[in-house]
Symmetry: C2
Subunit: 441 residues, 2 copies
C-alpha cells in the first residue's frame, strides 16, 4: 500500500485547551475545576495526503510540558519509514519511551509516557487510514501473530510471555466464523455504556437530577457520580440517584484517589446501602496492596473495586490483576503506550478474569476507547459475565470538535465505519485554530 512505504516528513504538535472549568464539567474530589486539554499530534508522510492524528489528554495547566516532550521526541520519528515502524511496532513503541537517556524522566510513567502515547496514537490513526479501516476493525481482523508483534511484553513474562499471548489470541479466534459473528454483533448492537456526565462534584442536586432523568430517557441505566469530599453530601446524592434510577439501575462512585486505604473501606461502607456496583480509584493509583485491602474489606458488601485510568504502565496492571486487587480494570487510551501497551493489559485481564470497563471522557477518550473495547470483545474476551457486565464509560462534552461523529444512541457506542475514520481522533480545523494556544512543527 502506497502510504506504508512513505517516510515521515513532518510532525506538528498542538497545545489545545478547552475552558471546561467555567461549567464545572470534570470536577471531582481531587481535581476541583479543570480545563480539559490535549496535546494533539499530526504526522505527515511524504507523497501521501493522509495525516495521522493522535492525542493525549490533560487537565489544563501542564499541557505545555507534555507538548515540549512531544517536541523532544520528534527526532525519533522524522525520516522513518511507516512500514519499518509497523514491522516491529511493539519494539518501536517501547523504545520511544525508553530512549537510553530520556527514560530516566519516567521510567515508564508521567509526562514521557503521555507524550509518547500521543505520538503512538497518531501512528495507529495513520495506519488505519492507510488501510482504509477504522482502528477497531484493523485490530479485529489482524492476525494473532501481528497483534503480538504490536504488543509490549517486556517485564511481563512472569505472568504472560509473547508465546502465551499468541496462544490465547489464537484460541479466542480459532473459529473465523465466530469472529465474524462477533464483528457483526458489535456493528449491530454497539457497546453498552454508562455515563459520568451526570455526577460531577460541582453540579447541584437539581442539575444532577435533571441530567439523570434526561439520560434515562435516552436509554441509560448505569450512572457514576463523584464522591469523597463530604460524607453527608455523598449519602444524600447516592440516595437521590438510587431513588431516581430505581432498584435495577447501576450506581457507581468515584473519589478520584482521595481516600486513605482504611478510610476508603469506612466511607464506602456508609454508601453501600444505596447499592453500589463499584467504587472507583478509592486510593492512590500506585497502591496495589492498598487496593487489595480495600477489595477484601468491601467484598461482603458486594461493592467491586475498579481502577486504571491513571495507572502508570503494564507492570502496575500486571500486579493489580495477578494480586486480585481489582474487580474491574479501567484502561485508558491516552496514558500508557497506546494500543501497543493495551494489548498485553487486555490479555492479562482476560487471564485473571478481570472485566475491562474502559475509562473515557476528557478530550478524545470516548472517541478512541470504543475502538479498543470493540477489539477486546471480538478478539480477547467475548464471554460476558452477567455479574460483571462490560460497560464503557461515556462522558461526552467535547465531541463536537472531532471530524468523526461520536454516536451513543440508545446508551450504546455505535462504532464508526468508513475509510477515513482511523482512530476517530481527527480534530476539526476550526476547533484547532480556535482552542490551540501554541503549535510547533
Amino acid at each position: 500500500m502506497a502510504g506504508l512505504e512513505g517516510h515521515i516528513v513532518k510532525v506538528k504538535s498542538w497545545d489545545v485547551r478547552f475552558p471546561t472549568s467555567q461549567e464545572a464539567h470534570g470536577s471531582d474530589a481531587m481535581h476541583g475545576l479543570v480545563d480539559y486539554s490535549c496535546v494533539y499530534v499530526q504526522i505527515f508522510l511524504e507523497s501521501c495526503h493522509l495525516i495521522g492524528c493522535g492525542l493525549t489528554f490533560t487537565c489544563g495547566r501542564g499541557n505545555e510540558i507534555v507538548k515540549h516532550c512531544v517536541d523532544s521526541l520528534k527526532p525519533k520519528l522524522l525520516g522513518q519509514k511507516l512500514s519499518d515502524i509497523l514491522g516491529a511496532f511493539g519494539e518501536f513503541a517501547h523504545s520511544l519511551a525508553n530512549d537510553n537517556q530520556m527514560r530516566w524522566l519516567g521510567p515508564e510513567c508521567g509526562v514521557l509516557y503521555l507524550a509518547s502515547c500521543a505520538i503512538l496514537n497518531a501512528i495507529w490513526d495513520l495506519w488505519a487510514k492507510v488501510e482504509k479501516k477504522p482502528v477497531w476493525l484493523l485490530l479485529c481482523e489482524m492476525s494473532a501473530q501481528k497483534l503480538v508483534n504490536c504488543g509490549i511484553w517486556k517485564h511481563l513474562t512472569d505472568v504472560m510471555t509473547p508465546q502465551q499471548a499468541l496462544e490465547l489470541l489464537q484460541n479466542v479466534a480459532s473459529d473465523p466464523e465466530e469472529v465474524n459473528k462477533r464483528i457483526s454483533h458489535v456493528k449491530e448492537n454497539g457497546l453498552q455504556s454508562y455515563t459520568t456526565a451526570c455526577g460531577w462534584l460541582g453540579y447541584t442536586d437539581d442539575y444532577m437530577s435533571s441530567k439523570i432523568k434526561s439520560f434515562m430517557e435516552d436509554g441509560w441505566d448505569s450512572f457514576k457520580i463523584k464522591v469523597g469530599v463530604n460524607i453527608e453530601d455523598d449519602i444524600r446524592r447516592c440516595k437521590m440517584v438510587r431513588d431516581l434510577i430505581g432498584e435495577k439501575g447501576r450506581l457507581m462512585i468515584d473519589c478520584n484517589q482521595k481516600w486513605e486505604v482504611n478510610e476508603a473501606i469506612e466511607w464506602v461502607s456508609q454508601l453501600a446501602p444505596y447499592g453500589l456496583y463499584w467504587t472507583e480509584e478509592p486510593t492512590h493509583p500506585s497502591d496495589v496492596i492498598g487496593h487489595k485491602k480495600i477489595r477484601d474489606g468491601l467484598r461482603h458488601l458486594g461493592v467491586k473495586v475498579a481502577t486504571g485510568e491513571v495507572c502508570s504502565n503494564r507492570v502496575m496492571f500486571k500486579q493489580l490483576c495477578s494480586e486480585g486487587a481489582i474487580d474491574i480494570c479501567q484502561i485508558d487510551c491516552a496514558r500508557v503506550l497506546s494500543i501497543n501497551e493495551l494489548i498485553p493489559i487486555l490479555l492479562i485481564c482476560k487471564k485473571y478474569n478481570i472485566t475491562v470497563c474502559p475509562h473515557a471522557g476528557g478530550v478524545g477518550l470516548c472517541e478512541m476507547v470504543q475502538h479498543v473495547a470493540a477489539f477486546n470483545y471480538v478478539r480477547v474476551a467475548p464471554e460476558t459475565n452477567p455479574d460483571n457486565p462490560v460497560l464503557v464509560e461515556h462522558a461526552e462534552h467535547l465531541a463536537q470538535h472531532f471530524e468523526i461523529e461520536l454516536d451513543c444512541t440508545g446508551a450504546a457506542y455505535r462504532l464508526p465505519t468508513g475509510e477515513g475514520v482511523g482512530y476517530s481522533t481527527t480534530m476539526k480545523d476550526e476547533s484547532l485554530v480556535k482552542y490551540s494556544v501554541s503549535m510547533s512543527e
Copy 2:
C-alpha cells in the same frame, strides 16, 4: 531570623549538561552512554543575600523538559514568604506536585516529581543557609513534631500515621545526650561508603581492575559493578573483582532494571558463587510483587535485594517495605519530593527493619545524600545490623563543580560543616556558565 520573613522574588532555572558519555562513566545495561545532567534551581529572597540552590539529576536528553516543568511551577513560589512555606512545609511540598490541574501529569511520578524535587531541594538549602547550619544538622536538631510537619503522610496511614511517626521519632530521641553522642560520632567517623565508580559497563577489565586497586588503597572494601548484558562477561567480571577484593570485600551487582522476574533469579543464581551482598534493581521499578518473588527466589543463596533509586513515590516504598519485597532501600535525593517525602520513607523502613543504603552518583547526589544518611543514623535508625551494614553509595565524577567540597577520605563521607553549606548543592559560577545550555528567570 531575617531571611525567614523574606518573600521569594526570583527563581532561576538552568539546564546543565556534562558530557560524561565521552568517558563511559554511568554506562549500564539499560542506559548505555549517558550525559550526566541536572536542572538547577536558584531561589532568591527579597532583601537577603542568601540563594537557595537545588537540583534534580537526569541522564541528558530530556533535561530540557524537566526545566520547562520547573518554569511552569514558578508561579507557586513567587511572592511566597519563606516562613509560610516552612510553617506547613509538608503540605506545601505535597501541593507543589498536586496542583489540581497539573497532577494529571503524574500522578506523583516522572517529570512533575523531578521538577518539584529540584525546587524543594532549593528550599531546604535556603532554610539551612538561613539557619546557618548544614541540612544534616538542621534535621538532626529539629524537634520530632517539626519533622512530622515537614513530612508528607497522605496515602500512608494504613502503615504509618503522623502520630505513629511522631512517637517513633520521640522514642529514638528520648535521651538528648544520646542524640548528641550520635552527632559527635557521625562528625568524627563519617558515614561508611561503597563505590560504584569502578564498575561501569563501558569500562574494560583492565581499567576496572586498576580502579578497584586504587580504591582499595584509599580504604574502600565494598564495590558495586554493573551487569546484565552478557552472562559470560558478568561471570568473568564478578570473578575478577572477587579475586581482587578477597573474601572479606563486599561485592554488589546492578543490572538497572533489565531483567524479567524469573530471568533475574536465574541470572543472579549464576553469579552468586562469587559472593554477592546484594542485587540492585533486578527488574522493573514498579514491580513490588516481582521484587518479592526475586527476594524469595534468592534468599537461599544469601543474596539480598535492593532497589529505590527510581522508585516513584512514598506509596511504592510503602509497599516494597510492607510486603517484604526488599532487604535494602536505596533512597534517592532527587526523585521523590525531597526530604519532605524521604522522612516518611525512612520511618517506614525503620518500622519494617529495612536497611537504608542511599543511592548516589550522577550530579549532586553524593552531595545531598550524606545529609539524609546522617539524619537517618542520628534520628531514625541508629542501631546497626551487622548483617546489613549501612553503606552510602559513592561515585564521585563531578564533585569539582560544587562550592562545598565532597570529602570521602578513608572511604567514609566526612560531613560538611559551616554556615554556608546548606544542602551542599551550590554550584560554582564558572561551572554553571560553562555547562549550562539554557537559563530562565
